[in-house]
Symmetry: C2
Subunit: 66 residues, 2 copies
């Protein structure tokens, strides 16, 4: 199931890669797409709790599903 979350604090491609890698560290099979302009992270294959944990640990702001 694909879900999209609002994630704040990402300002460049390095930030986007960081969020993607952090999610995949917790859910290796996840498919992650980051839209920097929309502050949106779309994830297939990880739970909302995993995404929140990964985003928190990576230092960005998890603001829930959109």
């Amino acid at each position: 199931m694909t879900s999209t979350y609002r994630v704040t604090g990402m300002s460049c491609g390095g930030c986007a890669r960081s969020v993607e890698t952090a999610i995949k560290a917790l859910a290796p099979a996840a498919i992650v797409n980051v839209d920097l302009d929309a502050k949106a992270v779309t994830v297939d294959g990880a739970s909302a709790d995993q995404v929140k944990q990964a985003v928190d640990d990576a230092g960005f702001g998890f603001e829930g599903a959109v």
Copy 2:
């Protein structure tokens, strides 16, 4: 003990914060200082293994102590 590591792939303040937060997720008491221009991360209170794990999980490049 303070150690300095070379970390590649950080290009903005969001990246720097991400690395700092990832290290503190593994070593909560660590003191972390990131120098973006020097690609250097100085850490007190975390092992090199912890720093490597955190940097890897956050999607940046750990290149060892400098």
